[in-house]
Amino acid sequence: MSQKYYLLRNREVADIDRMDVYLAHGGYQALKTALTDYKPEELVDLVKKSGLRGRGGAGFPTGMKWGFLPNDGRKRYLVVNSDEAEPGTYKDREIIEKNPHQLVEGIIISSYATKAREAYIYCRGEFLFGAEQLQRAVSEAYAEGFLGENILGSGFSVDLKVYRGAGAYICGEESALLESLEGRRGNPRLKPPFPAIAGLYGGPTVVNNVETITNVPAIVTYGAEWYTSMGTAKSPGVKIFSVSGRVSRPDNYEIPLATPLRSLIDDYAGGVLPGHKIKAVIPGGSSVPLLLPDKLDTPLDYESVLQAGSMLGSGGCIVLDDSVCMVGATARLVKFYREESCGKCTPCREGTYWMTDVLDRIERGQGTEEDLDTLMDIADNIGGKCFCPLGDASLGVLVSAMKFFRDEFEAHVREHACPMGAKLYDTVNH
């Protein structure tokens, strides 16, 4: 299947992460176009028309978000979310490590559009190489006069700083990210006020995902119509999917939205491993419910995936085949949330701890029939009762696994072991 890349443009070009190579391949042309041909408001309009939606997970329309900034003369901030820590999602990582200049170019254009005087990239702590790549790209951009005062003689100025987090999933949540960026403990903030009104240092702030911003140079170059020509009316454009799990070619694939899930797995990722059958797919990162194989023809756009019973999320597509023990897989994922719960609110902090222990016991064959009901009741006591979406995110896979594969859980209880003989991982370490 031939693939045209916009976000992962020049992916095959060696050293595209260097300024000279990037420039030689048409880099920063979109910036020049934006600064000369557009007023900031026109750029906001352009992005609105393109229908671009946030790629951080929630799919919120980007142009509309930019339009929320109040016109009250306060200093504005643009913060780019590069905390990508959702299991199964590794698209932002490729962008910052391999093609950081396209992101930097997108940030400068987006800052111009939103009239931000200061911009930050909040980079996940573990992405050391990515942060170094970004830092180098930012320095090169300063050296070229693309950042700083009076960029390319346009009168527009913006400064961009790269900030490394300390490694916490919760710091991907935008308000926790802002707390962390301000030097405090990464706990989510009470909303409202939303960042557009009171964000970084209390100022009007746009928070966007790396991939979202990487779309912007392409939209400036090719126009809104080009963008809406792909995908559906409500979910236009292209998106990167990170495919992982039991497939032949796990990788990032940039495809138009509404491409069927089956096509992503079979045509791009080389299909499920030979000799195996797909058991379930997590289509949008570890926080979303499972889809069964009968949903493989679901078009990958926000609405269709929701209708199929899951969410498009961040586009981390994890394929589970018939060799996977659902109890083990669920236990593994729930443990992630227990480790990453920030601890601010009771249901998430205590509930993920408890669920992890119960799942561990079931996986080891020490669970009881009652545990299964307790597990579902704990999930019910977490669901919709947490301070931020992380608590609910811990339930996506668990609740759907219990719904679709309850027999596997029951078998573990009955047989006091994994019927598939799957290897035990040390899930709980107190």
């Binding site: 919760i170 403990r185 009771t346 009762k385």
Partner: protein, 773 residues
């Protein structure tokens, strides 16, 4: 106003009210942990889940503001299941400590579990283990296992007090409350977190395992340690006060205490407490001492006639006791020479006396000679509260040291204590030269040289006049300020309030009892003693040597009197002059009225018996009355409460006469290298406390960091030699950035002897050899 329905009842509340507060108006209880009105919403514990019609999920009542027509249900299946779920979660990692927990019986985790919780736990896994009884500091303990992570303590210290000394460490279920860098918290306000903690996680170290709710009594009282008179509850057991807690007063007071007040309750049974009667340096029976004193009084009166006995009220007595002394003096001892002990010369007429409400409305506050953090700590918190709601609060300091601080930022005008009134007078003359009384005020100081530029003087005057609501805190050091304040209040049409921070703590109560509390009065009484007109002194809690600014007068009067009788709680510095030392009952042992710095009357309850021979004032005067064979009407029930005024004293009456000129300060001796200044510091108010010992320092005097460096004084203080007119003394000093160079600050009325011997300070030098501490 917003109208909504909660559990079928309609209620109208102001916009911005949270559902939990609206429910409280109706008496509907919504359980909360993290929410506290003073600290604002956090949304962490999820205990306050309620159902709002048309909302898809349960919402937290503490973070959801009411909207018009909202329909809220705090009962019903979904809410009940939600609450059960949250409580079950809180309990899974909660230790089974209730039987040994100080909070047991007064714990919100117990109460809510009983009321709303699951009947039975389903958790079978191992509980997370954390630190138990770790220190926050010497006074506060933390049991991290019992913590429900409501963050009240962290937010109180960080956001409210502004001293970020507590924090959350770790994440998820491993999260714990601890101190910054695991160093002891040093703030003056750490004890409040004990009251704020909804569970038994933050505990009072001195109260640790000392009582359970069913074997203690709680008495409503006020703290006696400074003129704020914080409302509090004294816990007693077996005739000991073993704890002090804050007592919130709805719509008026959050119930904060400072650590001085909260932990300094043990002076009543401190080793220094006087429990025996002493006559001529020999212990004797209470009956004998009472008889001896009565005899001396009779003898003095017989020999020198009426008015030959002088009475001076100090200490922490109730207004009723002051009334008894006044009445006894007049009716029995035939003397109207009754005065109040003063350690500064200023006096504030009640008409100018503001209330704490003025602090919550102020847009400008001026600290005249006083740093509230040190002198009246909870006033500092009240101002912090104001700052939270009104960030533009203008804070100005006028005095011989910096009076603003990091947690109360503002502008300081550094002028000598004796120049404060001049500075104000000139500021008013610059900003309102035609104002009534202004020219008179400034008449003799027009050309007096101040160390502040004319522009700054005028700007200050303008700030005084422009303030929408002006509140001043005054330490009473510069007596001429009374004149200035009266003129200032007359100039301004908008609210002007003064809050006096000087003592003794109940001087307004003594004034209510009919004793003139002005310095002139006690000065005159002592002058009469010095000249032999008064022959006998009865010092009721007063310690002349320690407190009187005119030390020479104090010593001469004490030396001259034929008899000095002193009723005390702990040994006074007057000791060498005392003929009879009477152990007297004090705060917590006598019920009565205290009037605080805002002129508010409160009752302090009696919860314990005085130790040994200590007897209440009433017992002494009644016995003397009997010995004089005179019934002077102890039964006439005098009541300091005036029904028309409620719990505030009357502000009427004190019509100020025509303005008087601010006197020209005497010129300072330019040859004196050092200036000594004094300030109130609650830790050094004379009442001993074993509990607070870890907080005390020998290095109570302070110099600027520059001087400290020159004197080789390290981070925690050290000793220096002070050469004075009377010889050389060793004094304990530490560095304080609030102090300006070549200035030595000492606490007013310090218990340290040397503080009384610094007259004529020539220089401070590094001691040859530093004595070990």
């Amino acid at each position: 106003m917003i109208r909504l329905t909660i559990d079928g009842q309609e209620v109208t509340v102001p916009e911005g009210t949270m559902i939990v507060d609206a429910a409280a108006r109706l008496g509907v209880d919504v359980p909360v942990y993290c929410y506290h009105q003073a600290l604002g919403p956090l949304g962490a514990c999820r205990m306050c889940l309620v159902q709002v019609e048309k909302m898809p999920k349960l919402v937290t009542g503490c973070t959801t503001a009411v909207t018009e027509g909202m329909v809220v249900h705090t009962k019903g299946g979904a809410v009940e299941k939600g609450r059960k779920g949250v409580l079950e979660f809180l309990l899974i990692n909660h230790p089974l400590d209730c039987p040994v927990c100080d909070k047991g019986g007064e714990c919100y985790l117990q109460d809510y579990t009983f009321e709303y919780g699951p009947g039975r736990g389903r958790f079978q896994e191992p509980k997370i283990q954390k630190v138990k009884n770790g220190p926050i500091n010497d006074l506060v303990l933390i049991d991290q296992e019992r913590c429900v992570l409501c963050q009240r303590c962290v937010r109180f210290m960080g956001d409210y007090v502004g001293e970020e000394q507590l924090l959350l460490e770790g994440r998820g279920v491993e999260t714990v409350v601890t101190t910054v860098d695991h160093q002891p918290a040093t703030s003056q306000f750490t004890g409040n977190v004990i009251d704020l903690c909804p569970v038994g996680a933050l505990l009072s170290a001195p109260y640790y395992h000392k009582g359970r709710p069913w074997n203690i009594d709680r008495h409503s009282t006020v703290c006696p340690h400074c003129p704020v008179g914080c409302s509090s509850l004294a816990t007693t057991r077996e005739s000991h006060i073993i704890r002090l807690e804050g007592r919130p007063v709805p719509d008026r007071d959050w119930g904060w205490l400072c650590d001085r007040g909260r932990f300094g309750y043990d002076f009543g049974y401190h080793a220094d407490r006087i429990a025996d009667s002493w006559v001529k340096e020999r212990a004797t029976s209470a009956a004998q001492a009472t008889r001896d004193v009565a005899e001396w009084m009779q003898q003095t009166n017989a020999q020198y006639g009426p008015g030959s006995i002088g009475f001076v009220m100090g200490g922490q007595f109730t207004a009723e006791e002051a009334h008894l002394i006044k009445k006894f003096a007049h009716d029995v001892a035939q003397s109207d020479n009754v005065a109040v002990m003063r350690n500064v010369r200023g006096y504030l007429p009640a008409a100018l006396n503001g209330t704490f409400q003025d602090l919550t409305e102020a847009d400008t506050v001026v600290f005249v000679g006083v740093d509230p953090y040190e002198a009246v700590p909870v006033v500092h918190l009240k101002l912090r509260d104001r700052l939270r709601h009104f960030s533009q609060l203008k804070v100005l300091g006028v005095g011989p040291r910096r009076l603003t601080r990091d947690t109360m930022p503002g502008r300081d005008y550094l002028v000598a204590s004796q120049d404060e009134a001049v500075f104000f007078a000139r500021a008013l003359a610059a900003a309102a030269k035609d104002g009534p009384g202004v020219q008179t005020l400034v008449d003799s100081v027009r050309d007096y040289v101040l160390p502040v530029s004319d522009a700054d003087i005028e700007a200050f005057g303008q700030a005084l006049l422009d303030a929408e609501h002006l509140s001043l805190l005054w330490d009473g050091e510069n007596a001429a300020m009374a004149e200035v304040l009266a003129v200032l209040a007359g100039l301004r049409e908008k609210p002007t309030a003064v809050l006096p921070t000087f003592g003794p703590v109940n001087w307004r109560g003594y004034e209510q009892a009919g004793i003139d509390p002005r310095y002139d009065n006690v000065e005159e009484l002592l002058n009469k003693t010095r000249t032999g007109e008064i022959r006998m002194l009865v010092l009721w809690g007063a310690d002349l040597t320690r407190d009187l600014p005119d030390r020479q007068l104090a010593e001469q009067a004490l030396a001259k009197a034929d008899y000095v009788v002193s009723a005390q709680v702990v040994p006074p510095l007057d000791m060498p002059y005392i003929d009879a030392l009477l152990p007297v009952a004090t705060w917590g042992e006598v019920e009565g009225t205290y009037v605080n710095m805002e002129g508010r009357l409160s009752i302090g309850a009696a919860g314990v018996q005085p130790p040994g021979q200590a007897r209440p004032t009433r017992t002494y005067v009644a016995n003397w009355g009997r010995l004089f064979r005179q019934d002077f009407g102890l039964d006439d029930e005098w009541d300091p409460f005036d029904s028309a005024q409620g719990d505030l004293i009357s502000r009427a009456g004190n019509n100020h006469g025509p303005a008087q000129a601010v006197p020209r300060p005497g010129t300072r001796d330019a040859s004196q290298e050092w200036t000594i200044i004094e300030g109130d510091w609650v830790m050094e108010n004379g009442m001993p406390s074993e509990i607070l010992e870890p907080r005390e320092t020998e290095f109570v005097a302070r110099v600027s960091p520059e001087d400290a460096a020159r004197l080789g004084i390290g981070e925690h203080g050290g000793y220096v030699e002070a050469q004075t007119a009377g010889g050389t003394v060793m004094i304990g000093v530490q560095a304080d950035p609030a102090i300006v160079e070549r200035t030595l600050w000492i606490p007013r009325g310090s218990r340290h002897d040397w503080a009384q011997h610094l007259e004529g300070l020539v220089k401070l030098t590094r001691p040859e050899e530093v004595p070990s501490v």
